[in-house]
């Protein structure tokens, strides 16, 4: 069933630059993202690491050190880690997290859509174009202070009406993150690395469970 639903994946190289008042780092490797779902990572530098998902569990695996963490939560871990790369997915995620559509305005070639979350007391603005490519997402609190802002600088066309961002920056009140994607292409399920396709850890791996059923 899952195989039919996730008919194709998007994959490629990535570099992530992160900076906060506490730390800063650069991470590089490969990424794999189902059409709609959380992105898995196979990291090469600064160390060998795999971050992937199996049902409601996030797996953080260190193949060289034969160690792994299984992180579980009663909250939806997959939705939490989804990076919406097109308008349909972004709107689906907004509705799922309780945002209500307010209005939309046309500004030149782009459309600006406004959303609100009554319980969170935040408003959200999405800037996108007619092709459904999202260029900006900004979240503001009730006082008009920007809590979170994401901008996409360039898109790669993978096939008709299927685009993928080339550069994404996310700025919060505490940190800045820049993702640069390269060699992005469509990947069939069969061509995925084994650990992403079938996230089962070898028996020799020492697994630590972190979550609601922690033992």
């Amino acid at each position: 069933m899952l195989y039919i639903l996730i008919s194709f994946w998007i994959g490629g190289q990535f570099t992530r630059f992160y900076s906060s008042s506490i730390s800063s780092d650069t991470v590089a490797g490969r990424f794999y993202k189902p059409q709609y779902g959380a992105m898995s990572f196979v990291i090469d530098t600064p160390l060998k690491q795999v971050i992937t998902y199996s049902a409601d569990t996030m797996i953080v695996y260190y193949p060289d050190r034969k160690k792994a963490f299984k992180i579980k939560s009663l909250q939806n871990i997959i939705n939490q880690n989804r990076i919406a790369t097109d308008l349909k997915e972004a709107i689906g995620l907004l509705r799922k997290s309780g945002y209500i559509f307010l209005r939309k305005e046309k500004k030149g070639d782009t459309i600006v859509s406004y959303w609100t979350h009554e319980k969170r007391k935040t408003t959200l603005k999405i800037v996108y174009d007619k092709k459904g490519r999202v260029f900006e997402v900004t979240v503001e609190n009730a006082k008009g202070r920007t809590l979170y802002s994401t901008r996409v600088f360039e898109y790669i066309m993978l096939r008709d009406s299927l685009f993928f961002p080339k550069k994404i920056t996310s700025i919060t009140t505490q940190d800045t993150e820049l993702f640069v994607f390269d060699s992005v292409r469509i990947i069939l399920q069969d061509s995925l690395p084994e650990i992403i396709k079938n996230p089962v850890l070898p028996k020799s791996v020492s697994v630590t469970i972190k979550g609601f059923d922690e033992k």
């Binding site: 690491q49 505490q174 630590t208």
Partner: protein, 138 residues
């Protein structure tokens, strides 16, 4: 030769003695940094308003939910981090997140209880007033 071997052994032992605390210190500073980062990140990620509302409407069940439902760290914060960092970060994130959620839910619950008491108080006062007014007409 014996003297040289003894000196070499002493040197190795000294290196181990110096190196071990340095390694332990590096691990401890890694965990401290992970914990500081987790505590900063969780402030941003956990939705206090939402948990306040859950406590307000859910009462004691809202507080229980805030305690049971542990927030999980976002994958992007664990990218390229060592197992020691991931372990410390996850523990601190969950602990700090649960504390924020529970505190917000308790505040919501107290506000909800006060609102209920005030509403009941008003109803009782209104009924007493109405009963008094009815008695005085007879």
């Amino acid at each position: 030769m014996k003297k040289f071997t003894r000196m070499l052994t002493a040197g190795v032992v000294a290196l181990v003695l110096i190196g071990e605390p340095a390694m332990l210190m590096a691990q401890s500073s890694n965990a401290t940094q992970a914990c500081a980062q987790a505590q900063q990140d969780v402030q941003m990620e956990v939705n206090k308003t939402l948990w306040l509302a859950i406590g307000f409407f859910g009462g004691i069940f809202g507080i229980a939910a805030a305690y049971i439902i542990e927030p999980s760290p976002p994958a992007s914060k664990l990218l390229g981090k060592s197992p020691e960092y991931v372990a410390a970060y996850t523990d601190c994130y969950k602990e700090a997140g649960k504390k924020i959620q529970t505190n917000a839910a308790i505040k919501g619950c107290v506000i909800g209880a006060l609102v209920s008491i005030a509403t009941y108080g008003c109803c009782i006062l209104f009924n007493i007033g109405a009963a008094g007014a009815a008695a005085s007409t007879y």
